[in-house]
């Protein structure tokens, strides 16, 4: 589906370039995190509408593949939805284009409103199995997680699990919507989704006493914030620079906000 969209975009870009008789199109390839991918596609679409001379290809592959793609040059821009590891940070230049707050959600009837990261880790590693141990009713916790390789799971493992394994007893759902659906129908379930996905069918939890909202996510006070990074080999240049600047500009940020992302500025 997504490659198809990308191809359609390329085709549209090409036609635009030919139709206007401009100079041949410049290609720009983005590859990496599947969490960033849908937003990158939105950005690419809007950017190409204004700059038909640039063809943008957006590919998935995961955050790690995004770093690799930027290092090897298979993509001018690598996409990554977690903090870079030290050796990765040396190899590429990262630009934070947006932030996403992962919100813990439970069923609206669950009396628990607040968890610590420590409690969360114990819940997801199955050391804590009952809601009673974290101030709720005496019910077995249904742990809901995302599938192996998803950016959301990767970021959750980095920020919460601290090297521990997510329990194999956890239910695995393959999209944010599926996690929300599962949590909204199970009074004993807990799951994690992007802040933009939370709606009235589920209840968002405070983490370490901090409510996830724009202020706490942008300032970094909320513990589960992951950056969406655009990676380039060396400082961005040419079409890559134009695109990144545009994404960071008012138009790009307005699109991100409309899609439920938060601006990159920290403090």
């Amino acid at each position: 589906m997504r490659p198809l969209v990308a191809r359609a975009l390329v085709l549209a870009g090409l036609l635009g370039a030919l139709g206007c008789g401009r100079k041949p199109a410049t290609g720009l390839t983005l590859a990496g995190s599947t969490s960033v991918q849908p937003f990158a596609e939105k950005w690419a679409e809007a950017f190409q509408a204004k700059n038909p001379a640039v063809e943008i290809h957006v590919q998935g592959g995961g955050s790690t593949a995004g770093v690799k793609a930027a290092v090897t040059g298979t993509a001018q821009i690598g996409m990554c939805s977690r903090e870079l590891k030290p050796d990765e940070a040396q190899a590429v230049t990262a630009t934070v284009v947006a932030r996403d707050g992962e919100t813990m959600i439970v069923h609206p009837s669950m009396p628990v409103n607040d968890l610590t990261v420590d409690q969360l880790r114990k819940i997801y590693s199955r050391e804590t199995t009952s809601w009673k141990e974290v101030g709720g009713p005496d019910r077995r916790i249904t742990v809901v997680t995302r599938e192996q390789g998803s950016g959301a799971r990767g970021a959750f493992e980095d920020m919460v699990m601290n090297g521990k394994q997510i329990t194999s007893a956890a239910l695995v759902q393959d999209s944010q919507g599926a996690v929300r659906q599962m949590v909204s129908t199970d009074p004993a379930a807990i799951g994690y989704v992007s802040h933009g996905v939370v709606d009235s069918s589920v209840k968002g939890l405070r983490l370490e006493g901090v409510e996830p909202n724009e202020e706490t996510i942008v300032s970094g006070r909320y513990p589960l914030v992951r950056p969406f990074l655009f990676l380039t080999k060396g400082a961005p240049s040419g079409a890559a620079k134009e695109f990144i600047d545009w994404v960071l500009g008012p138009e790009g940020q307005a699109i991100g906000r409309k899609e439920g992302l938060f601006p990159p500025a920290k403090q």
Partner: protein, 306 residues
């Protein structure tokens, strides 16, 4: 001719591709790793045995529900129901086969999971839920092929049995069912193939945990779910491991189809041996439903036809 060969070629290419992608990984990590119980692709652990267990559990669960209902339904439609009822009901069952699996899955999430959770306990998403949904999904396959098998039994058998004073039920049980046995076995096996290969509905209701289920209420992950869940992100060895999962699935479906064909083939031989006109006709009819193989292996049954 050309078209027939092109479908075989496509099947061969698909097979070749799956094996080319998956087999090197199986060889590299070793069968010990590949059939272990640890699935942590990030750390190079590609054990799929728990997925094999998951597929087996939900498939047999589906058969426990689907076979009695399916056979009973087929017997009623083929042997007992008046023609009017049959012409009305058979298309309805065929429509059941046309409902997209995501719809079954969605009904499962919205209706079945909460019901299981509040009445039986556990997280709802479970081997039981997947079995129930699959049990309904295999019905059209089992009913359709069983009806064909039952109708292929020559009327002279029934007439002879009734003439000897047997009741209708005795006739069905002692004469018609044994005569149609191999066709019924084939129906069940093809239903099984359908259950093993189903993906979307299972992902939605099975919970997809990679663990050994200790009760029907525990979540499980099937082979198909494993591939579909992780293919979107997988790269490198992880992706190869998913193709290797596909090889295992492919082998299972091939084996099921072969068994289904053997079951039918035996019937053909037995029927043609006495060289009576009626039996020949039956053998020909018996062959007919072979085209309805599960989606996993479209050309498999076709290639074995004379």
């Amino acid at each position: 001719m050309l078209l027939a060969f092109s479908s075989i070629t496509i099947l061969a290419l698909i097979t070749l591709f799956i094996f080319r992608e998956g087999a090197p990984l199986m060889a590299r990590v070793g069968l010990g790793n590949f059939f272990s119980t640890e699935w942590r692709p990030g750390e190079g652990l590609f054990g799929i045995s728990l997925m094999i267990v998951g597929s087996t559990v939900v498939t047999f669960g589906a058969l426990v529900l689907g076979v009695p209902f399916g056979l009973a339904c087929a017997i009623v439609l083929a042997e007992m129901a008046p023609d009017r009822a049959r012409t009305l009901l058979k298309p309805v069952i065929e429509i059941l086969a046309g409902i997209p699996s995501v719809v079954y899955g969605f009904i499962g999430i919205v209706v079945l999971l909460p019901w299981i959770r509040s009445n039986l306990g556990g997280p709802g998403a479970s081997a039981l839920a997947a079995s129930l949904i699959l049990g309904i999904m295999v019905l059209p396959t089992i009913i359709g092929i069983s009806i064909d098998a039952l109708q292929a039994v020559p009327n002279s058998y029934r007439e002879a049995s009734l003439a000897m004073g047997a009741t209708r039920w005795q006739t069905i049980r002692r004469v018609v069912l044994p005569a149609a046995r191999s066709g019924l076995v084939a129906a069940i096996i093809l239903g099984m193939g359908r259950a093993v290969g189903e993906t979307m509905a299972v992902i939605m209701v099975a919970g997809n945990s990679v663990q050994m289920p200790r009760s029907p209420l525990d979540p499980v992950r099937t082979l198909t779910a494993n591939i579909a869940l992780e293919m979107g992100y997988a790269a490198g060895d992880h992706q190869a491991a998913l193709f290797a999962t596909g090889i295992v699935l492919f082998a299972i479906i091939m084996a099921l189809n072969t068994v289904a064909n053997l079951a039918r083939g035996r019937r053909v031989k037995r029927a043609t041996a006495p060289a009576a006109g009626a039996e020949d006709l039956q053998a020909a009819r018996d062959d007919a439903p072979q085209g309805e193989s599960p989606p996993g292996a479209p050309g498999v049954t076709g290639t074995q036809r004379p």
